[in-house]
């Protein structure tokens, strides 16, 4: 199988690690070679967080011009990582901004993203925006954004695995009390993308 490389980006504390854990466990069950990288330490404190995914290959790092897909939990972070993509890269982007502390304190500005996305989408043809926060809330918790995004990415067909394989891995990994919310979040993301494709 040809290598599939991906990137999950966002802001520290958004739960990106669970996204890659679930995907990885699902891959192991399906006997798909998988390696991901996680961010620990200082960057978790509200910093930019990126996690690389590599299926059928060896490198735990998705670098410039390599990503087959990019899942962004925050829109500005999708823009930050465009160089990792290539023309046919599929983007799944949660459209709700998270303002850095510096912006809240008035020492930095958060740009108007519309013209930037216009420029971006004129180069990349497969960019999908998700109302991530709304869907997570609908599922029962804003913390479930990670599973909304996982559902959305699965629906887009960026993994060589279907819904059931990922849902099974997710349910095995999470404690039972979190099953309902996360399953709902996954399916809301999954069905949202299905409806816009």
């Amino acid at each position: 199988m040809k290598k599939i490389k991906g990137l999950v980006v966002g802001v520290g504390g958004q739960g990106i690690i669970l996204f890659t854990r679930v995907l990885g466990e699902a891959c192991i069950k399906a006997d798909i070679p998988v390696i991901v990288s996680e961010v620990h330490g200082m960057a978790q404190r509200g910093g930019v967080v990126e996690s690389s995914i590599c299926l059928f290959g060896k490198s735990p790092y998705t670098s410039e011009g390599e990503a087959n897909f990019i899942v962004a939990f925050e829109p500005a972070e999708a823009l930050r990582f465009v160089k990792r993509a290539k023309k046919e890269t599929k983007f799944v982007i949660s459209k709700d901004p998270i303002l850095p502390l510096a912006v809240k304190e008035g020492v930095a500005t958060y740009p108007d993203l519309n013209p930037l996305f216009e420029e971006m989408t004129s180069y990349f043809k497969h960019v999908f925006f998700i109302p991530g926060e709304d869907l997570a809330k609908e599922a029962g918790s804003t913390k479930a954004l990670n599973m909304v995004m996982l559902g959305a990415a699965t629906s887009l067909g960026v993994f060589p695995l279907g819904r059931d394989a990922l849902v099974e891995a997710m349910l095995e990994l999470l404690p039972e009390k979190l099953h309902e919310v996360n399953l709902k979040a996954f399916d809301l993301g999954f069905n949202y993308v299905k409806s816009i494709l």
Partner: protein, 564 residues
């Protein structure tokens, strides 16, 4: 049961650090000790938690890496298998003990994990600790993914025992924090049912390296190295894969990048490979075989040209004409971690491959995107302490010229505006040693900041020095009840403890100031006005003083209230 212990003879999805833990418990490790430090922390965290499931395992968070090294050294001298782990700069702290351990040696297998941090993801430098193996003259393994981290850990214990030497196992952030497929064996639960004590067999002419002993031991060590080199040549995870006349010698995470790049470039059947994991003593014979079969050898390794220099010396010594390419030609840099794209480009350049294009989007939004430097958490007590001390100094009219030595922990983020309260930092504990120098060299006021865990790690002895040598400055100890930065490991002053160490005593920091007869106050940083009144007299007086800002880390508080 702890998740790392679950399953046998199956595939697990493990972090590099977790893979080391699994490898260690499959190898009957009995004693572990460590001071936390990214990117090594998950090794200690998991061993600490595992004690609940394995009665035969003991792990402690030691106050610093040197103490941890001494603990595992002694445990190993009693015949028990032991492990310690640290970030790269932690080995600087432990190096004194480490160097002597190579001389006096070990009995039970001893593995020392050094987790290096190319790109300084969470460190003050990116030193290449492979040179520590050469300096101490102990065998070294380099892992390149979670599975090799696991497999090499299992190889390290018997090797250590056979040669009675500690084995240095080196990872990097990208290996420690990569999560990948590890094919595990089984955990010897029988063995772990009780803690089996060893015996220390007295042998002062081995274990006490007075000069006469040390001289004898150094010779012995060098003899062992020769034998170890033979083993490195035939080590099963040192792989020479002969193909064409172009060759690549590689170690560490770059192994993955090279293999993927060769596949991308369609060269997987043409380029010879020398993949090394046992890299000290350098496997000369194997490398010689490789060098004699290729015309060009490109060396791919992060940070220092460690393999490269070995290969160049070897080629010179044996009069080989093989063209060796690497850092000397600036094909790859000596700084930062590599990226797969960078390695692929370097490979194209090194081998003069034509007509290969890299498609990188001609877009760059970085100039207009807001930066997201890591910040102190919302509600963090450190911010309150910084703010109130800044205010008092402002009211005194000396804030701008005050020097703020800082230390290693979350509170180093005091460097960010609007606080701007971090002026000088070298290493763990330097916030207490450096002010002694500032006190001599300048009339500027010095207010230094150190965390509770860092204070116990390397702040105690410089505080004694400050008192004894009559230095004047104020030390603010940010006592948040935990080692926050690295994931809430225990600290001797903590009041809320993990159930595993529930019966351990609390060592309050103010009692240390009291014992040293240093004026101190204990403040609650959330009670700003009250705290300002308490600290003002100390900041006004030109004398040595200690301010203990006591309030739990907001994350630790939430976590411990949830009972996790």
């Amino acid at each position: 049961m702890h998740p790392i212990l679950k399953g046998e003879n199956c595939k697990k999805f493990l972090l590099g650090n977790e893979a080391i833990v699994r490898g260690a418990v499959e190898s009957c490790v009995q004693v572990g000790a460590a001071y936390p430090g990214t990117p090594s922390s998950e090794i200690g965290n998991n061993l600490f938690q595992m004690q609940k499931d394995l009665a035969g395992l003991y792990f402690e968070f030691a106050v610093n890496e040197k103490v941890a090294m001494e603990i595992v050294g002694a445990a190993s001298a009693c015949g028990l298998r032991a492990i310690t782990c640290m970030k790269h700069v932690g080995l600087n702290v432990a190096s004194d003990a480490f160097m002597s351990l190579a001389y006096v040696g070990v009995e039970g297998g001893l593995v020392v994990v050094t987790a290096d941090d190319p790109s300084c993801h969470s460190s003050q430098n990116e030193q290449d600790n492979r040179y520590y193996a050469r300096l101490a003259q102990v065998p070294m393994f380099e892992a390149f993914d979670p599975h090799t981290a696991y497999a090499l850990t299992k190889e390290a214990f018997p090797l250590s025992e056979k040669f009675k030497l500690p084995v240095l196992l080196r990872t990097t952030t990208r290996v420690s924090h990569a999560r990948g497929v590890v094919e595990v064996g089984s955990v010897p639960f029988e063995f772990y049912q009780t803690f089996k004590k060893g015996t220390f067999k007295k042998d002062p002419f081995r274990f006490v390296p007075v000069p006469a002993v040390a001289r004898k031991e150094h010779k012995l060590l060098l003899e062992k190295l020769e034998e170890l080199q033979n083993l490195a040549n035939s080590f099963k995870f040192n792989q020479f894969i002969p193909r064409g006349k172009l060759g690549i010698c590689v170690s560490g995470v770059a192994v993955n990048y090279v293999i993927d790049a060769l596949e991308d470039l369609g060269l997987q059947d043409e380029v010879s490979l020398l993949i090394l994991t046992f890299t000290y003593p350098f496997p000369e014979k194997l490398a010689l075989e490789f060098l004699s079969q290729v015309e060009t050898c490109f060396v791919v390794e992060e940070l220092e040209p460690y393999l490269e220099e070995n290969l160049r010396v070897l080629a010179y010594n044996y009069g080989l004409k093989t063209k060796i390419l690497g850092k000397k030609e600036k094909l790859l840099p000596r700084y930062f971690e590599f990226t797969p794209t960078q390695v692929k480009e370097a490979l194209v350049n090194a081998f003069n491959l034509k007509g290969i294009n890299f498609e990188i989007p001609p877009l760059d939004f970085s100039a207009v995107l807001p930066p997201r430097p890591p910040v102190l958490c919302p509600g963090c007590p450190h911010r309150e302490t910084y703010k109130l001390i800044k205010e008092v100094l402002q009211e005194m009219g000396i804030e701008e010229q005050t020097i703020y030595p800082t230390d290693i922990g979350c509170y180093t983020l005091g460097i960010q505006p609007p606080l701007n309260m971090a002026d000088y930092l070298l290493c763990m504990g330097s916030s207490v040693g450096a002010p002694c120098g500032f006190d001599i060299a300048t009339d500027q006021r010095v207010v230094a900041f150190i965390g509770d865990s860092t204070f116990f790690h390397a702040g105690l002895s410089p505080l004694v020095n400050a008192k004894f040598n009559k230095h004047k400055f104020t030390l603010v100890v940010l006592d948040n009840d935990t080692t926050a930065m690295t994931g809430h490991q225990p600290v001797p002053s903590q009041t809320v403890k993990s159930p595993i160490i529930q019966d351990h005593p609390t060592i309050p920091i103010h009692q240390i100031a009291e014992a040293l007869d240093i004026p101190y106050v204990v403040i609650n940083p959330y009670k700003k006005e009250e705290a300002k009144e308490l600290v003002q007299p100390l900041l006004e007086k030109q004398e040595l003083s200690v301010i203990i800002a006591k309030a739990p880390c907001i994350l630790y508080k939430t976590k411990s209230q949830k009972g996790s």
